[in-house]
C-alpha cells in the first residue's frame, strides 16, 4: 500500500536575493513499512522536501501534489494538516540536543504529543510514555520519564525523540539526518532501533541523510538529490552497487570508504546556486561524462531494468560508462622512509580541577597519560568519539594548552614553558587547521589579510612581498589569487577550508595538526580537500597529525593510527594492520559501527547501555 506519493513537486522559497528553487519536479512513492532514503549534499533540497511534507514551510511556493493516504496535503486546510502532524506523520530532527525542549521533562513532552491528538487522562498518557520509552531502550523508564533532556546522553535523547515520534503509531515517520550528530557507535544503535520500530509498528520511514553508503545499505529505495533535482531513484542495493547517474557514481567514488588508497576521485567544482533557474542538467558543469547537450537541455528520464530511474542524457548506466568515471589523479610516489621523530608526546596528562558551584571539589581527568611519536613525512591518525580528549591533545601538542604533567617535544625542543620569543618561533614549525571552516575565519577580514597574518605576526614579509606570498599560497591550495580581497562569507565551505590550510602553510611549517578538517564538508568537497592535504604532504614533505571521528577518512590518510577512548590510547598500529586485525574490543566496535553492512544486519552492539547514561 502506498502511504505517500509525491508527484511533480516544485518548491520555491522566497528570499532576499530572489526565489530559491529548492525542489524541481520531484516524484516518488513510499510504501507502508518501507524505509525510503533521500540522499544528497547540503543544499540539495532534501531537508526542504521533508519539511514540505510536514507542511512546515510557511511562505514557500509549492506546486505539484503530496498525496498522503489518498489526500493531497497541499490542499488541506491548516487545521486538518495540524491534525495529521505528530499523529499520522511524525518527524525526528537531526540534533537531539536541540530538538527537545530544555525546560520540560521528557515525559511532559511525550504526553503532550499524546494528549494533543487523543482524549486520554494525564495518567494514562504518562503510562503510555513510560511504555514507549521502555520500548526504545531507555532503562528504568518509569523513573527517567521525569528527567529533563539534559540528563540524557546524545544517543538516549535521540531514542526519546524516536519514542515521541512513534508513540501515536504514525503511518509515516520522517527522520531528517537522525544520526549525523551522534557518535558512530551510537549511530548504529539508532539505525537498528528505527529499523526494528518500522517492522513492529508498520511505519514507513523516510530517512534523509548525506551518507549515501549508509542509506543504500539499509533503504528499500533510495533517492539521490542534487540542486533540488531527483537525479536517481531506485532500489537501495542497486543505487549503491550500480549507480545510474554520474553524480551518484561520483559521490560513491569520492567517499574514502573504498579500498582505494592514494588520491580520491573527487568531483570537481561546487554545487550551483539555487537562485538561478536551471535550464539544462544541474550537474553538467561538474560531470565527467558531460556532453554538449547536457549544457543545453534538461535531461530525460531513463528507466533501467532493475527499477532504477535516472535523470541523465547518458543512455546507459553511469557505472557502465567509461567516460562517467571520475578521473583518478595519479598515484603519489612513495614517501621516503625516515626514522626522524618530529613530534614526541610522553605521558601527557590533563586534569581539570576546581570547585563546583556547591563547593564540592571536582577533578576531571581529560587525558590520562597519552604518549605518541610522529615520524617525519608521515601522518598519524587519531580516532575517537566525542569527548575522548583528541582535540584537547591537539591543543596541547600545538602548545595552546599546558598539560598537567608530561612533556611534548617538537623536533627535540619542548613546547612547554617557552619564552615569548621561542613560542613565536615554535609557531613557524607547528600549525593547526580547525574543524569549522565557518567559525574559524574572522568574517570581517579579507582573505588576503587572514592568510597573510602569519607573515605580519612573524614580521617575515611586508607590503607587496607579503601580497605576492599570499597569492602564491592561494594558488598552492587551489584558490583563485584574484579573490585576494574577498571576505570569507563569499567562499563555500570547501574553499574556506582551503583558506585555513593556506594560512597554516604560510610559514613553511614542518608539522600541521588537522582537527577534524573535513567533518563539516560534503562528501564531494571532502574528497577535494583530502586530495589537497595529501598532495601538500608529498610536495612539501610535511608531517601530519590527523584527528577525526571518521574512521574511513583517517584510514585513508594515515600511515599509523591511534585509537583513543576516555582520555587514553587503547590501541595503536599501522593502518592496515589495525583495520584487519584490531586487538582492542573498542577498536572492533568502532570498525563494526562504521561498516554499513554491519549496520544493516542490526549489529550486535545495539545494547543501549554502552552509549552511557548522563554525560
Amino acid at each position: 500500500m502506498t502511504v505517500l506519493s509525491v508527484r511533480n513537486l516544485n518548491i520555491d522559497l522566497p528570499s532576499g536575493d530572489g526565489h530559491v528553487h529548492a525542489a524541481r519536479d520531484v516524484s516518488f512513492d513510499v510504501e507502508a513499512e518501507e524505509l525510503f532514503g533521500i540522499a544528497g549534499e547540503s543544499g540539495s533540497g532534501k531537508s526542504v522536501l521533508s519539511q514540505a511534507i510536514m507542511g512546515l514551510l510557511p511562505g514557500a511556493i509549492i506546486s505539484g501534489e503530496i498525496l498522503f493516504e489518498g489526500r493531497n496535503l497541499l490542499d488541506l486546510p491548516p487545521r486538518e494538516m495540524q491534525r495529521l502532524r505528530g499523529n499520522r506523520i511524525a518527524m525526528i530532527s537531526q540534533d537531539p540536543l536541540s530538538g527537545l525542549h530544555p525546560f520540560y521533562t521528557v515525559g511532559a513532552q511525550i504526553t503532550e504529543a499524546i494528549r494533543t491528538h487523543r482524549k486520554v487522562s494525564e495518567a494514562e498518557a504518562l503510562q503510555e510514555a513510560v511504555d514507549i520509552l521502555g520500548r526504545v531502550g531507555i532503562h528504568d523508564p518509569d523513573k527517567r520519564v521525569h528527567d529533563y533532556p539534559h540528563q540524557f546522553s546524545g544517543g538516549m535523547r535521540q531514542r526519546v525523540m524516536i519514542a515521541m515520534a512513534i508513540v501515536l503509531r504514525p503511518a509515516l515517520l520522517i527522520a531528517d539526518e537522525p544520526t549525523t550528530a551522534l557518535d558512530v557507535t551510537v549511530q548504529a544503535q539508532i539505525i537498528s532501533l528505527l529499523n526494528q520500530m518500522r517492522r513492529e509498528l508498520g511505519t514507513a520511514i523516510i530517512m534523509v541523510t548525506h551518507d549515501l553508503e549508509l542509506l543504500s545499505s539499509i533503504a528499500d529505495h533510495a533517492m539521490v538529490m542534487y540542486a533540488g533535482n531527483r537525479m536517481e531513484l531506485g532500489p537501495g542495493e542497486a543505487v549503491l552497487t550500480a549507480p545510474a547517474h554520474p553524480y551518484t557514481l561520483g559521490l560513491l567514488r569520492s567517499s574514502p570508504n573504498h579500498e582505494s588508497r592514494g588520491a580520491l576521485p573527487s568531483i570537481p567544482g561546487q554545487p550551483p546556486s539555487l537562485l538561478i533557474e536551471q535550464k539544462a542538467c544541474a550537474f553538467a558543469p561538474r560531470c565527467a561524462a558531460a556532453m554538449d547537450i547536457c549544457h543545453k537541455e534538461r535531461p530525460p528520464l531513463r528507466n533501467f531494468a532493475d527499477g532504477t530511474r535516472s535523470l541523465c542524457w547518458l543512455e546507459d548506466k553511469a557505472s557502465n560508462t567509461a567516460a562517467a568515471l571520475p578521473a583518478i589523479p595519479e598515484e603519489p610516489p612513495a614517501v621516503a622512509q625516515s626514522s626522524d621523530i618530529v613530534v614526541k608526546v610522553s605521558d601527557v596528562r590533563l586534569t581539570y580541577g576546581g570547585r563546583s558551584l556547591f563547593g564540592k571539589s571536582i577533578n576531571l581527568d581529560v587525558l590520562k597519560g597519552v604518549s605518541l611519536e610522529l615520524p617525519r613525512g608521515k601522518t598519524l591518525g587519531i580516532v575517537g568519539e566525542s569527548g575522548c580528549g583528541k582535540s584537547t591533545l591537539a591543543r596541547i601538542i600545538a602548545g595552546l594548552l599546558p598539560p598537567t604533567s608530561g612533556d611534548v617535544t617538537i623536533e627535540g625542543q619542548s613546547v612547554l614553558g617557552l619564552e615569548r620569543h621561542d613560542w613565536v618561533e615554535m609557531r613557524k614549525r607547528v600549525q593547526m587547521v580547525f574543524q569549522d571552516p565557518f567559525g574559524s575565519l574572522n568574517p570581517r577580514r579579507r582573505v588576503g589579510s587572514i592568510i597573510g597574518d602569519p607573515f605580519r605576526i612573524q614580521k617575515v614579509a611586508h607590503g607587496a612581498a607579503r601580497k605576492n606570498k599570499v597569492r602564491e599560497l592561494m594558488e598552492i591550495v587551489g584558490l583563485n589569487p584574484e579573490h585576494y580581497n574577498r571576505f570569507p562569507s563569499e567562499f563555500s565551505g570547501g574553499q574556506r577550508q582551503r583558506i585555513g590550510i593556506a594560512r597554516a602553510l604560510a610559514l613553511n611549517p614542518s608539522i600541521i595538526i588537522f582537527d577534524e578538517p573535513v567533518s563539516a564538508l560534503d562528501v564531494s568537497i571532502q574528497a577535494q580537500i583530502l586530495n589537497l592535504i595529501a598532495r601538500l604532504q608529498r610536495e612539501l614533505g610535511l608531517s601530519y597529525l590527523f584527528i577525526s571521528h571518521d574512521l574511513a577518512v583517517v584510514r585513508h590518510v594515515s600511515s599509523e593510527i591511534l585509537v583513543m577512548k576516555a582520555g587514553q590510547v587503547v590501541e595503536r598500529g599501522e593502518t592496515e594492520a589495525l583495520y584487519h586485525h584490531p586487538q582492542h574490543p573498542y577498536t572492533r566496535e568502532l570498525l563494526a559501527a562504521a561498516d554499513p553492512h554491519y549496520r544493516k544486519s542490526g549489529g550486535g552492539l545495539a545494547d543501549p547501555q554502552s552509549s552511557g547514561a548522563t554525560p
Binding site: L56, Q82, S93, L100, H101, P102, A113, T116, Y148
Partner: protein, 318 residues
C-alpha cells in the same frame, strides 16, 4: 542546592557590609564639616566642638563605623542633622510613595513590553510588528523628565483648561482607605517611569522570542501537531523567561535613579526626593540610610532573580 542558596544569602550580606563600609568612608573623607553645618552659620568654635562631641564625630572613624553598624542592626540609623528626626522614621514616611511608584511601574512595563514584543515576534515584518517597533523607538527616545512634562501638559493641564480633571498633577494618596484614589494619582508617574523600560522590554522580548522560535525544539513542537498558540506560548515564551529575569534584576537595581526624577516632576514625597534633599544639605545619616536602603533592596532583588533562575531552568536545578 541548600548550600547554593546559603552561599547566595551569605554573599548578599557581605555586599551590604562592604557597601556600608564604603559609604561611611566616603563621607568621612569628603570635604565639609558636618558639625559646623549642624551648629549653624553663626555658631562659635566652642559650640561647633560641642556639637562634634555630641554627634560622636571626634572619635576615630573605625569606632564611629562599628557603633554605626551596631546601632543599625538594632534598627537605629541615627538622627538627621537637619531636624533631629530619626532617619528610620524619615525613610519610613517616604517609603509608601516610592514603593508604590516602583512596583506599579515594573508591573506596568512588564504588562506593556512583553505582550508587544510577543506580538511583534509572532509576525515579523507585519503591520503589528512595525507598530511595535515604532513604540520601541518612541519609548527609548524620550527621557523620563520629558515624558513626565508631556504627560502633565496633555493629561492634566489641557483637560484642566477645558474644565475637567482627567488626572491629578501629582501628590501621593495612601493605598488605604481608597485604592482607587491611590492608583488615579499614580497613573501619570507610573506611565512616565514605565514607558522607556516597556520599550526596552518589548525589544528584548521580540529579539529573544524570534531567536527561540527558530530553534529545533520549536519545529519539534510544530511537528507534534500543536496549535500555533501553544507553540508560541508554551514552548517559545517559556524559554525567554530566563533572559527577561536577568534584565529585570539589573533594571530594578537602576530603578531608584529613574524614580528620583519622576518623584521630582510629580511632587511625590518619596525616597528619591529625600535623597536629593539630604545630599544638598550634607545630611550624612540620611544619605547613608538611603544608600543602605537602596542597597538592601537591590541585593534582595538580585537574590530573588537568582532563585527565579533555579526555578525557571531545570538545567541549573539538577
Amino acid at each position: 542546592m541548600i548550600r547554593f542558596i546559603a552561599s547566595r544569602i551569605g554573599f548578599a550580606a557581605l555586599v551590604l557590609v562592604m557597601l556600608s563600609g564604603f559609604v561611611f568612608t566616603l563621607f568621612f573623607v569628603a570635604p565639609g564639616d558636618p558639625a559646623r553645618i549642624v551648629a549653624g552659620e553663626r555658631a562659635t568654635e566652642a559650640q561647633v566642638a560641642q556639637v562634634r562631641e555630641n554627634l560622636g564625630l571626634d572619635r576615630p572613624i573605625i569606632e564611629q563605623y562599628f557603633s554605626f553598624v551596631g546601632r543599625s542592626l538594632s534598627g537605629d540609623l541615627g538622627y538627621s542633622y537637619r531636624n533631629q528626626q530619626p532617619v528610620l522614621e524619615l525613610i519610613k514616611n517616604r517609603m509608601p510613595a516610592t514603593i508604590s511608584l516602583c512596583v506599579g511601574a515594573v508591573v506596568l512595563w512588564l504588562l506593556m513590553g512583553i505582550p508587544i514584543g510577543i506580538m511583534s515576534a509572532r509576525r515579523p515584518g507585519s503591520l503589528v510588528d512595525r507598530l511595535g517597533q515604532g513604540f520601541v523607538l518612541i519609548g527609548v527616545s524620550f527621557p523620563s523628565f520629558v515624558l513626565g512634562m508631556a504627560a502633565l501638559y496633555f493629561l492634566y493641564f489641557v483637560p484642566r483648561q477645558a474644565g475637567f480633571t482627567l488626572f491629578p498633577p501629582g501628590g501621593f494618596r495612601p493605598f488605604l482607605p481608597n485604592p482607587g484614589l491611590w492608583a488615579w494619582h499614580l497613573m501619570l508617574p507610573w506611565f512616565t517611569l514605565a514607558l522607556t523600560s516597556a520599550a526596552i522590554y518589548a525589544r528584548l522580548t521580540r529579539g529573544q522570542l524570534l531567536e527561540v522560535l527558530g530553534e529545533d525544539y520549536i519545529r519539534t513542537a510544530r511537528a507534534k501537531g500543536l496549535s500555533e498558540r501553544k507553540v508560541v506560548y508554551k514552548h517559545g515564551v517559556r524559554s525567554i523567561f530566563s533572559p527577561l529575569t536577568t534584565q529585570l534584576g539589573a533594571d530594578i537595581a537602576a530603578l531608584l535613579g529613574g524614580a528620583l526624577v519622576t518623584e521630582q516632576v510629580f511632587g511625590l514625597q518619596g525616597i528619591g526626593s529625600l535623597a536629593v534633599q539630604s545630599v544638598q544639605t550634607q545630611d550624612r545619616p540620611v544619605i547613608i540610610g538611603v544608600v543602605m536602603l537602596a542597597g538592601f533592596f537591590i541585593v534582595i532583588a538580585n537574590l530573588i532573580v537568582d532563585f527565579l533562575y533555579i526555578l525557571l531552568d531545570p538545567r541549573i536545578r539538577t
